[in-house]
């Protein structure tokens, strides 16, 4: 093999290494940006939340019930009732949007419960049912004695506990 070929191959290999690296970096592009869409989403929702908080009702959980379940199965429970805890006796109408439960004032149902985490649990609708999911809370979310480790479907009349607050869905 001639001297020239050896030299060419030697530099060619180094070039190949760097071409590989640059193609990775170029192809990553904006993927390195974390949560690039987040600021837009926040700016959009903040004023609305403030408006909601300014009204006479601090709990902005309620969403007008959407026009029924599209598939015509049995209806989802539409009320969230607090059975025990600081907010005892209150009820919240549910719509088709997920509901965040927690101590944080940002939560859709701010519990005012010292035993609840800021973002404690979430109720979200899927089809004809509500699912309850723990959001990695410190004290856990319990359905009966059972601490949740995954989202579970929740039926009307099944009490669940978030911190010291016990809640229940009603039709």
């Amino acid at each position: 093999m001639s001297e020239l070929t050896v030299t060419l191959l030697r530099f060619g290999f180094l070039a190949l290494l760097w071409i590989f690296i640059f193609s990775i970096v170029a192809s990553q592009g904006r993927d390195l940006a974390v949560g690039g869409k987040l600021p837009a989403a926040l700016t959009r929702s903040r004023p609305e939340r403030r408006r909601g908080g300014g009204s006479s009702a601090p709990e902005t959980a309620a969403v007008p019930p959407a026009g029924g379940v599209p598939t015509g199965q049995r209806a989802r429970p539409q009320t969230l009732v607090v059975l025990e805890g600081p907010l005892r006796g209150r009820s919240y109408p549910l719509g088709s949007a997920p509901v965040l439960l927690g101590r944080s004032p940002e939560a859709t149902v701010p519990l005012g419960d010292d035993y609840a985490s800021g973002r404690h649990a979430r109720l979200f609708p899927q089809g004809s049912r509500w699912f309850l999911e723990d959001l990695g809370s410190t004290n856990g979310t319990y359905v009966g004695q059972q601490r949740l480790s995954r989202a579970v479907p929740l039926d009307a009349g099944t009490p669940f506990r978030v911190g010291k607050t016990v809640l229940e869905l009603r039709p």
Binding site: F13, E48, G52, A62, T108, Q126, T158
Partner: protein
């Protein structure tokens, strides 16, 4: 105050519940293209170390090319099937590093009459297979969280294995190998994965307690002892065993992992300061007490002293020869196969970086470091993207392991820190290191899949509803089957016990059992309770590990393989994040 009227706060409600991430595509085609280049780099390097061999003795070139090519193709297919949204850059980077490593080991074999390259190729195949298996079975990395404490025990056992007489093997003053059937293995390499899993699991659970509970002394809040005890147990195991095994490199690695993960979990800089003080104290103590540590320090500080250079064991010849190699490499290197990296002892394991420095020059070594940097950034990217604390900590911790190991190795060979015997990840000769690093890559890939997977939320589609219906039907079916079995069993027992009054009772007992089985749920609505109880019953009957709960089952559905549970797990992963936005075409 009973019912709150509804202001129009749909966006507020939904945005409170979730965060929007950037749009992600599977990008498997990008990965395939990059893989072709990566395999090209590996095969090219193997050819370039001795181009004359391409014509005559090309077994090694063929074998390494086939293993790298087929291995990456298989992993690519596994990713397409099981983790479609996994990071597209991790696999090509790892394949390129592995190929370069094989080439350099082969190149050193050629001048020193060793045969390390063959076993390295074999171990590459094994490690790629292991990575494929991990990717295939670890569909949800959160399964690992359940074995947090098993991992602690496992780490202890793995680290203690080399100390067992008969099994352990002492090489070069360090007792970190075990010998099974003539083959040696370094259990400590696997222990870095299990320790990372333990730290991630423990810290993600107890993060708040460590941060918030405990006394405050001045500006520093000290965590309660019982919150930190398992962590310190892990730390003591790692450090204690490694003092007895006399392997400084691994001790630094484990302690660094401990520090990195506790900092990641709590974001308190004070931990790093305390840790570095502990390292300094430990280092001083070790240099006073252990002869081999003192020798290492001496050959680091006085490397060019002829007396130190020529000292029989533990001299600085290795470091200095490595530095000479780096300097003769210069900017562009001697060219693959043109230098004399074999003059350095352990050129194909501990000192492989200087071998590359000699043959590829500063530009080539920078490229290699850049590849590691890319791997680690992709790991941290996966950590940032994934939504659960455990996954975050695990991905970041595993990336930290790689970067720490690289730092200890490269810092050692360039005389920035004392040289300690650690392998360069993915490159050095050594099967256990290759195996565990490939498994780390596989776990990072699995986590990046959950991080990049689109989150589909909002009202369910027909398809989702069908899945839920199928899941519920399966539950009901299982419940019915279970109830039937129970009835039969009861009937048989009753028949055995009293003969004729069996029939009435069995019917009633079955009914009672279904509701009594779930004391957890107060039966307010008879129907709901019945369904729930039946579900729990069915699951505890079908689940492999005895009693499992309705909440548990959908989680680790891999073992069951049934569509209903899988459908459930998909659904719960999609949990409400804003209005239904199919962030990219995939799942709608």
């Amino acid at each position: 105050m009973s019912t709150v009227p509804a202001p129009s706060s749909v966006p507020a409600a939904s945005s409170a519940a979730g965060t929007a991430g950037p749009v992600q595509k599977p990008r498997r085609f990008t990965e395939l293209l990059l893989l072709v280049v990566a395999v090209g780099i590996g095969v090219g390097a193997n050819i370039l170390v001795d181009p004359e061999r391409l014509a005559s003795e090309n077994e090694h070139i063929l074998a390494s090319g086939l293993v790298l090519g087929i291995g990456s193709l298989v992993l690519h297919v596994v990713l397409r099937l099981r983790a479609k949204y996994a990071d597209p850059y991790v696999l090509p980077v790892v394949v390129a590093l592995n190929g370069l490593g094989i080439a350099m080991i082969h190149r050193i074999d050629l001048t020193t009459d060793q045969a390390a390259a063959g076993s390295q190729v074999l171990w590459t195949a094994i490690a790629m297979a292991a990575a494929g298996l991990v990717l295939w079975f670890l569909k949800d990395h959160r399964v690992l969280r359940r074995i947090t404490y098993i991992c602690l025990v496992l780490s202890g056992v793995l680290l203690l294995l080399p100390l067992l007489p008969g099994l352990g093997l002492e090489l070069n003053g360090a007792r970190i190998w075990i010998s099974v059937g003539g083959r040696t293995f370094q259990p400590g390499e696997v222990a870095k994965i299990t320790l990372a899993v333990f730290f991630a699991g423990y810290l993600s659970t107890n993060r708040d307690l460590i941060l918030l509970a405990g006394k405050k002394i001045g500006p520093v809040r000290l965590p309660r002892f019982r919150d930190m005890a398992p962590m310190f147990a892990a730390w003591l195991i790692a450090i204690g065993v490694l003092v007895f095994q006399r392997d400084l490199g691994s001790a630094i690695l484990f302690f660094g992992l401990f520090l990195a993960m506790i900092y990641l979990a709590t974001s308190r800089l004070s931990w790093i300061v305390i840790g570095l003080l502990l390292v300094a104290a430990g280092g001083f103590f070790a240099s006073q007490v252990f002869g081999h540590v003192a020798a290492r320090l001496d050959s680091w500080l006085n490397a060019f002293d002829p007396e130190v250079y020529n000292r029989a064991p533990g001299g600085s010849a290795q470091i200095v020869q490595g530095l000479f190699g780096l300097s003769s490499g210069g900017m562009f290197g001697q060219g693959l196969g043109q230098g004399r990296p074999d003059l350095v002892s352990y050129a194909n394991s501990d000192m492989i970086i200087t071998a590359f420095g000699e043959e590829l020059g500063l530009i080539g070594v920078s490229a290699i470091l850049m590849l590691f940097f890319l791997f680690v950034t992709r790991g941290f990217r996966a950590a940032l993207g994934t939504r659960d604390a455990f996954g975050k900590l695990l991905a970041a911790g595993l990336s930290a392991v790689i970067v720490l190991q690289l730092f200890v190795v490269v810092g050692g060979v360039t005389r920035l820190i004392p040289l300690t015997g650690l392998t360069t990840p993915f490159m050095s000769a050594g099967g256990s290191s290759l195996l565990s690093n490939w498994i780390i890559a596989a776990i990072v890939l699995a986590i990046s899949h959950t991080a990049r997977r689109p989150v589909v939320t909002g009202p369910a589609t027909e398809e989702d509803l069908a899945e839920v219906a199928a899941y519920e039907a399966a539950l009901r079916e299982a419940a019915a089957r279970d109830a039937q079995e129970r009835a039969e069993r009861r009937e048989r027992r009753a028949a055995r016990r009293t003969g004729d009054r069996a029939e009435d009772d069995s019917a009633r007992d079955t009914g009672d059992d279904a509701t009594a089985a779930q004391p957890a749920v107060p039966p307010t609505t008879a129907q709901a309770a019945a369904v729930d109880a039946a579900a729990t019953e069915a699951l505890s009957a079908t689940g492999p590990g005895g009693r499992r709960t309705a909440a548990d089952i959908p989680h680790g559905s891999d073992a069951d393989g049934g569509t209903p549970t899988e459908a459930m797990s998909r659904l719960t992963d999609q949990g409400g994040h804003g209005p239904r936005s199919t962030e990219n075409g995939g799942a709608s």
